[in-house]
Amino acid sequence: MSFHPLPSFPLRAGRVHEACGPAATGFAAIAAVMTGTPVLWVHEAWQADNLHPAGFLSFMNPSDLLLTRTGSQTDSLAVAEEALKDGALPFVVIEVTRPLNLREGRRLQLAAQAGGATGLCLIPEGMGSNAAETRWHAAPVFDPQDEDSTLMRWEIIKNKAGTLGAWHVRWNRETRRLHVVSPVGLRPGSADTPD
């Protein structure tokens, strides 16, 4: 298990990125730690899935998390644009519930460029916008060897400034570091390792 820096990760600053898939929340938490805190988390008030601050303890101090509850996606985008443009918060997470159109995506991108902050939209699958710098699909993976694991498969499915790829990663709670691991079947020592 060695540490490979992922290409395109940590996320490029001054841009807005997108993440989807069942482990998108974990991806956002790790990306936030890598970029810097405090973090602004924009979500709409009606959403029942709430963040659990105790769960964030293994990533960052929950006190560094600022939440905004907005009435609609229009408000969410306005808040995110304001925060990105200001740049006082290095990382802004936006929970998106309907696809962004070209104008909205571009405005977020321009705001991020002006403020130098990193934005991350958590999108429902298949609702990406054209303006996003990168788009990631994150899914948890069962790890038969290690109990209490955070093994995930991150796949970069859109990249404006690089190549696509997929990696298996694991978050180390103690050292708060990201490890890139080789896929389970190909680990040294496992039964069907190619020589």
Binding site: P22, A23, T25, G26, A29, P38, A45, A48, D49, N50, L51, H52, P53, A54, G55, F56, L57, S58, F59, N61, P62, S63, D64, L65, L66, L67, T68, R69, T70, G71, D75, A78, V79, E82, A83, D86, A88, L89, A139, P140, V141, F142, D143, P144, E147, D148, S149, T150, M152, R153, W171, R173
Partner: protein
């Protein structure tokens, strides 16, 4: 000036009732009479009587709960009104005013005429009033409470002589003690040797006596005017452009901030009132995430609100008021520079707050509870400070949602289950972690009793937080791990 029925008169002024009337106050679990009108007193009711007794005496008694806070504000208003007689007005207890009228009586045609004017005006306002005028504050109090009238200059001793000892503002215990000794009037007290009295009753008694007779000075401290943080600007010609309004606001902000700084406070809420030529007025409210008095920083925050205003035919007056202020001590410049980032963040929170409401920008605070839903508090970021002290002995899910039932039986996690229309097969289950409900708090979600929490890793990858309720068998999904 003593208002013997201040509280009940205040209520009766707004809604006159021709019946016995009393205000009640809840004291040690009993409703007691706090203040009552003359008709109720004539029927034998008195203060501190319980309401149940009073009703037994007088079945048609009208009663209402007392509001001491509003009474105090009413007295304050009366104090402001009393400044028409002299500039030096102080409060005396909860139901009296004390005025230093030295040198202002001739404006009213003498002492007698002035008191007559006060009586007439307050009778018209429906307030019962007792007046006393004397050389000293203590003597005036005595005359107001125990026999009304004027003590001529230099005649204080003679005017006080026939009054009971209670007129010296003594507490109950001393009055009773004096009466046991046979000292019933002030005259008795004056002729008694002082040393034994001081040894028997302490220095308070003689101090009060000296204050009433003028041997010891007693000052009247008038209410200080509360600082006012409002400014206005009137234009010869109406304006309508956003840039003009902003320029006018900037003009008002400068002196307002200087005034805030002089008082050592910062504004937390500002209100900009724009009066239009057609007499309509529009308000722009600005709620700040932190107390502020820096005009350069506040001005851009008004931009959004001002842009939304409909100027109509033009605005001819604007008024800026800090409606809520908070103490903000002056800081060293070096210290402010070091804290540049929090200031920026506060500005950002204010800007976001003007769009979605300041209470919708929140942060998490730790709470002392094992119940996952109650292990944290959500507080508005503008009104709280971040706290440390987060701890969780076991990994907790990143997402928490209201429990969603799944099919399953028995205390072991189900081998296969469906959740949110997806099938899962349990690959590894860690647990159980038993969490018991907090019985001292009512919570409908925990009616089903204690919960055994399991961290279930599925073959499909997702790691879910399931719980089983042994007292009311059933399986639920409540969270998802990273």
């Amino acid at each position: 000036m003593w208002f013997p029925r201040l509280a009940s008169d205040r209520v009766l002024r707004t809604r006159p009732i021709e019946a016995p009337f009393a205000l009640t106050l809840r004291q040690s679990n009993t409703e007691r009479i706090h203040c009552l009108n003359a008709r109720a007193e004539a029927l034998g009711l008195h203060r501190a009587m319980s309401l149940a007794d009073a009703r037994a005496f007088c079945p048609d008694l009208v009663s209402r709960p007392a509001e001491p806070g509003r009474d105090a504000r009413f007295l304050l208003a009366l104090g402001r009104w009393a400044q028409r007689y002299c500039p030096w007005v102080g409060r005396e207890g909860a139901d009296g005013l004390v005025l230093d009228v030295t040198g202002s009586t001739h404006l009213w045609g003498g002492e007698e005429a002035m008191l007559e004017d006060m009586r007439a005006r307050l009778a018209r306002a429906g307030l019962e009033l007792r007046l006393g005028l004397a050389d000293t504050r203590g003597a005036a109090w005595a005359l107001a409470h125990f026999g009304t009238g004027i003590a001529p200059v230099g005649q204080t001793r003679r005017a006080l002589a026939p009054l009971p000892v209670a007129a010296l503002r003594l507490d109950e215990a001393i009055c009773t003690g004096l009466q046991r000794l046979g000292l019933r009037t002030v005259a008795d007290l004056c002729t008694t040797p002082r040393a034994p009295l001081a040894r028997r009753f302490g220095p308070a008694l003689l101090a009060r006596l000296d204050q009433a007779l003028g041997d010891v000075a007693e000052a009247i401290s008038p209410e200080a005017d509360p600082p006012h943080f409002g400014l206005r600007l009137t234009f010869p010609d109406p304006i309508g452009l956003v840039s003009d309004v902003m320029a006018a606001t900037a003009r008002l902000l400068e002196p307002l901030c200087a005034r805030l700084k002089a008082q050592g406070v910062g504004a937390r809420r500002l209100e900009l009132t724009l009066r239009r030529v057609d007499q309509g007025s529009q308000q722009v409210e600005l709620r700040l995430a932190a107390a502020m008095r820096d005009a350069v920083r506040i001005l851009p925050l008004f931009e959004r609100g001002v842009a939304e205003v409909d100027a109509g035919f033009g605005i001819d007056q604007i008024r800026l008021e800090a409606t809520l202020v908070e103490p903000l001590p002056v800081e060293q410049i070096g210290a402010i520079q070091a804290r540049g980032a929090p200031d920026r963040l506060a500005d950002l929170i204010t800007r976001i707050g003007t769009r979605i409401g300041l209470e919708n920008v929140q942060r998490y605070l730790p709470a002392d509870s094992h119940i996952p839903e109650r292990s944290f508090l959500i507080a508005p970021a503008a009104y709280s400070t971040p706290e440390g002290g987060w701890c969780s002995p076991r990994p907790r899910p990143l997402r928490l949602f209201p429990p969603e039932a799944i099919a399953g039986s028995g205390p072991q996690p189900p081998e296969r289950f469906r959740w949110r229309r997806m099938s899962f097969a349990t690959a590894r289950a860690t647990g159980p972690e038993r969490i018991a409900p907090e019985w001292w708090l009512e919570d409908d979600n925990w009616r089903s009793g204690m919960r055994d929490y399991w961290r279930v890793e599925t073959r499909q990858g997702r790691r879910l937080w399931l719980f089983y309720t042994p007292q009311d068998p059933g399986w639920f999904v409540q969270g998802e791990f990273a």
